[in-house]
């Protein structure tokens, strides 16, 4: 067999599948975003016209698009740091020499990750119930009055963020535990001898050595949180007062409820651009931090 042919035979099918079902549709999506593809074009493609960037300009003039953008950014800017903080805290606890039953704790903490988001969203919708929900019941026990979590536009996004943190923190926890185990124990020993307490050890030994892992986790988590969809679909249907309409929720409604596939494609690319810009910003901030540490 000619060298190289075997490689193509084994890799070819997967590459072909990804080409046909991903690369081609992505390119087509961009073309679609430059057309006025709507329900009439589905019936008869001759109704299709190129409109240049009109869909994008139309979005910029749509209040709901800005609302969805703001809601999604809210979810990302609050949800991602909170999620990572909980992952890191539980990872430090699990990694502690004092922790018992580590395996059982790890399994329990990780369980929400493998559950079906739709199903547990239905459960949390019930936990958030203003009158009968467990969350308000527990808050009442410590003297906090009932909150209309899913009915008050100020509380709907915080509720979805709490749910998302509960559902997702386990993934990054596992990654942090592995990274923590890779830190040599002698470094903590040395810090202790120099009089550093637990908090100082965390700040001057753990955090700097966790840097690359932290950045990787932040990039991946952020990309995931930008793709908010199922949670509002099940828990709030975008409401109340459109306070939980995310960018993907908007894309879904434009595309598959109103069949404006041209406009919906423009929404998809707007999300993609936003994700790229945010990731670039994050990486740049991280480089700045490294440079500052190097100079200190």
């Amino acid at each position: 067999m000619r060298p190289g042919l075997a490689g193509w035979c084994f890799a070819g099918p997967a590459l072909a599948v990804m080409g046909v079902f991903f690369a081609v549709p992505v390119a087509a999506a961009f073309m679609l975003s430059l057309t006025d593809f709507d329900i009439y074009a589905i019936a008869d493609p001759s109704n299709l016209r190129l409109v240049g960037l009109r869909n994008y300009f139309q979005l910029l003039g749509t209040a709901l698009f800005w609302k969805a953008l703001g809601n999604t950014l809210y979810f990302v800017v609050v949800g991602v740091p909170l999620s990572i903080a909980v992952s890191l805290a539980t990872a430090v606890l699990l990694d502690s020499e004092l922790a018992r039953f580590k395996g059982a704790f790890r399994t329990a903490l990780f369980a929400p990750v493998v559950t079906t988001v739709v199903a547990v969203a239905v459960v949390w919708r019930n936990l958030f119930h203003a009158r009968y929900g467990w969350i308000n019941h527990a808050l009442g026990a410590i003297g906090i009055g009932p909150i209309d979590w899913l009915g008050d536009p100020h509380w709907s996004m915080p509720a979805i963020i709490l749910f998302a943190v509960w559902k997702n923190f386990g993934i990054n926890m596992i990654i942090f535990v592995a990274a923590l185990q890779a830190i040599p124990r002698e470094l903590y020993e040395a810090a202790r001898i120099e009089g550093a307490g637990a908090a100082q050890q965390f700040r001057h030994v753990t955090l700097p050595l966790l840097g690359p892992t932290l950045l990787m986790v932040a990039v991946v988590t952020m990309a995931g949180y930008f793709q908010l969809f199922a949670e509002p679909y099940v828990m709030t249907q975008g409401g109340p007062l459109q306070s939980t309409v995310s960018v993907l929720y908007l894309m879904y409604e434009d595309g598959f409820k109103w069949w404006s596939l041209g406009l919906a494609s423009a929404v998809a690319f707007a999300l993609f651009a936003l994700m790229l810009a945010s990731t670039a910003l994050l990486l740049r901030a991280a480089r700045g931090k490294v440079a500052a540490l190097g100079g200190a």
Partner: protein
């Protein structure tokens, strides 16, 4: 100092674990309550008289058995087919040099920055013209090959010594024979890992099946549950039973094969 510290660490872990598991236990508990009992103040922890009535109603009247079967078929077939594509490609990227291999692999990794939803609108139109909307195939197609799966297999396959493969070639074995009889047995642990990931992904997936399965008869459990829960806002216990049926298979799969799942997660988080 050690005793209070140990109490604090284990106490906090216990609290965090309780918060993680409590919603799942509540779901199970409420699913066993007669209609209306869970909507009370204060909410009851356990059913006064546990009943399977919700499950009977779910399967007999709502027809959840059909959605369960749809999910099982889609997730199982999707997992089997995608293993075929991902494992052979991952092996090629690790062990079979071909022109442009490294460049292609780098562009696959780069493509990970594109959110999958960008492809969904044209993919729907493509599948529509191919007559695959409202079919099992339509649900499975985008999951057939995944960069993550290929990446995992490649990482693992790189540890196979070249000498074994060379020796087999010198004895005249063909590439297909080598793959089936030498490579696959060595890759067994990572095959399990990729299979679990794929199965869970397809089982738990929501947005794409929601789009492509407009006909109720073919819907998967998450799609059916989401639509039912929008109608049956009041039937809390019934919806809890539906959630249990949806969540149980992936949870049991994870509990049984946890080691493989965690290993994959860690392998995938290492930069290539």
């Amino acid at each position: 100092m050690s005793r209070p510290a140990s109490l604090a660490v284990n106490g906090l872990l216990l609290a965090a674990a309780a918060i993680s598991v409590a919603p799942l236990l509540w779901m199970l508990s409420a699913s066993l309550m007669p209609a209306g009992q869970s909507n009370a103040f204060p909410p009851p922890w356990v059913a006064a008289a546990p009943t399977l009535a919700n499950y009977r109603e779910l399967f007999a009247r709502v027809g959840v058995g059909r959605y369960l079967a749809n999910s099982v078929v889609v997730a199982t077939a999707g997992t089997g087919l995608s293993l075929l594509f991902n494992v052979s490609a991952g092996y090629a990227f690790a062990k079979l040099p071909f022109g442009g291999r490294e460049r292609i692999f780098r562009s696959l990794l780069a493509a990970l920055v594109i959110p999958a939803q960008v492809a969904m609108l044209p993919l729907f139109l493509m599948l529509r013209s191919a007559g695959l909307v409202n079919s099992y195939a339509g649900v499975i197609v985008p999951a057939l090959a995944s960069v993550f799966g290929i990446f995992l297999v490649r990482q693992y396959a790189r540890s196979i010594p070249d000498e074994i493969l060379e020796a087999a070639r010198l004895e005249g074995a063909g590439e297909a024979h080598i793959f089936v009889h030498i490579v696959l047995p060595l890759l067994k642990p990572i095959l399990v890992t990729v299979a679990i990931f794929t199965f869970l992904n397809i089982w738990n997936d929501f947005m794409w099946p929601l789009i492509v399965l407009t006909d109720g008869r073919l819907q998967t459990l998450p799609v059916a549950l989401a639509l039912l829960s929008r109608e049956h806002v009041q039937d809390n216990e019934l919806m809890m039973a539906g959630s249990v049926v949806t969540v149980l298979p992936p949870l049991l799969l994870f509990l049984g094969l946890q080691r493989y799942y965690i290993q994959g997660l860690l392998l995938g988080s290492v930069k290539g």
